[in-house]
C-alpha cells in the first residue's frame, strides 16, 4: 500500500516557467490537500478538495491552480514560477475533512525557482 505518492521529488525551475506537481493516493480518500512548508513558517494550506471535480482555496492560493479530475489524483500547477514559490510542497489526503481523521502525507516535492 503506497499511501500518498508525490512526483517529482525534486525540481529546479527558472523564473517564469510552468510546471505541475502530481499527487496520487490509493486509500480512496475523498479529501485531498496541498501545503507548502517554508523555514519558520510551518505548513500552510494552498488549496484543497472535498471530492472529485471540486477544489477550494486555502490560506495561500495566489500563483497556484489545482485540479481534481480523478478521485485519486490532485494536481498542483504553477503557471509562471516565481522565486517566492521556492519551497517544499506536501500533498495530503484524509477520509474526513480536517481534524477528526488523520491526514496522510506524501514525502514532499522540493522545488527551487531560480
Amino acid at each position: 500500500n503506497a499511501g500518498v505518492t508525490q512526483t517529482p521529488k525534486f525540481r529546479v525551475l527558472k523564473t517564469g516557467q510552468s510546471m505541475t506537481l502530481l499527487c496520487a493516493q490509493d486509500m480512496n480518500h475523498e479529501y485531498m490537500y496541498w501545503y507548502r512548508q517554508d523555514p519558520g513558517m510551518g505548513l500552510r494550506l494552498i488549496h484543497y478538495s472535498v471530492g472529485e471535480g471540486t477544489t477550494a482555496k486555502g490560506e495561500v492560493p495566489d500563483g497556484y491552480n489545482v485540479s481534481r479530475l480523478k478521485k485519486q489524483n490532485f494536481l498542483l500547477g504553477l503557471e509562471s514560477a516565481a522565486p517566492s514559490q521556492t519551497s517544499v510542497y506536501f500533498c495530503a489526503s484524509s477520509y474526513h475533512l480536517w481534524g477528526s481523521q488523520p491526514q496522510h502525507f506524501g514525502d514532499g516535492t522540493r522545488l527551487s525557482i531560480l
Binding site: V4, Y35, G40, M41, G42, L43, R44, L45, Y48, A56, G58, F90, A92, W98, G99, S100, Q101, P102, Q103, H104, F105, G106, D107, G108
Partner: protein, 111 residues
C-alpha cells in the same frame, strides 16, 4: 493574529533526558492533532484528541490537553535519538476551512 503557537522552537537534549513541548491556541478548538516529521519525509500523525482534559499515552510519549481546549503539551520520557524530528500540532475549529498547523518544535536528541 497568531492563532497557534508552539514552544520551544528548538530543543537539543541528551539521550535519556525528559522534555515537554507546548502548543497554545488563541481560541477554542474542536480537535487537535500532534504530528512528527522526520527529515525528508512528510508529517505522520501521533495522536488526535477531541476531549478537554484528556491524557493519552503512546509508549514514552504523553499528550495532555487543557480543560479549556485551548492548549496541549507533549511530554517525552527518556528521549532517544529516534525521537529526533519536527513536532507539529494542528487544530481544527470545526467550521469550514479552519485547520491550522503550528510552526513546530524541532527536537534533536544526541546519543
Amino acid at each position: 493574529t497568531q492563532l497557534l503557537e508552539q514552544s520551544p522552537q528548538f530543543l537539543s537534549i541528551q539521550e535519556g533526558e525528559n522534555l515537554t513541548v507546548y502548543c497554545n491556541s488563541s481560541s477554542v478548538f474542536s480537535s487537535l492533532q500532534w504530528y512528527r516529521q522526520e527529515p525528508g519525509e512528510g508529517p505522520v500523525l501521533l495522536v488526535t484528541v477531541v476531549t478537554g482534559g484528556e491524557v493519552k499515552k503512546l509508549k514514552r510519549l504523553t499528550f495532555q490537553f487543557g480543560d479549556a481546549r485551548k492548549d496541549s503539551s507533549l511530554h517525552i520520557t527518556a528521549a532517544q535519538p529516534g525521537d529526533t524530528g519536527l513536532y507539529l500540532c494542528a487544530l481544527s475549529k470545526g467550521q469550514g476551512f479552519s485547520f491550522i498547523f503550528g510552526k513546530g518544535t524541532r527536537l534533536l536528541v544526541k546519543p
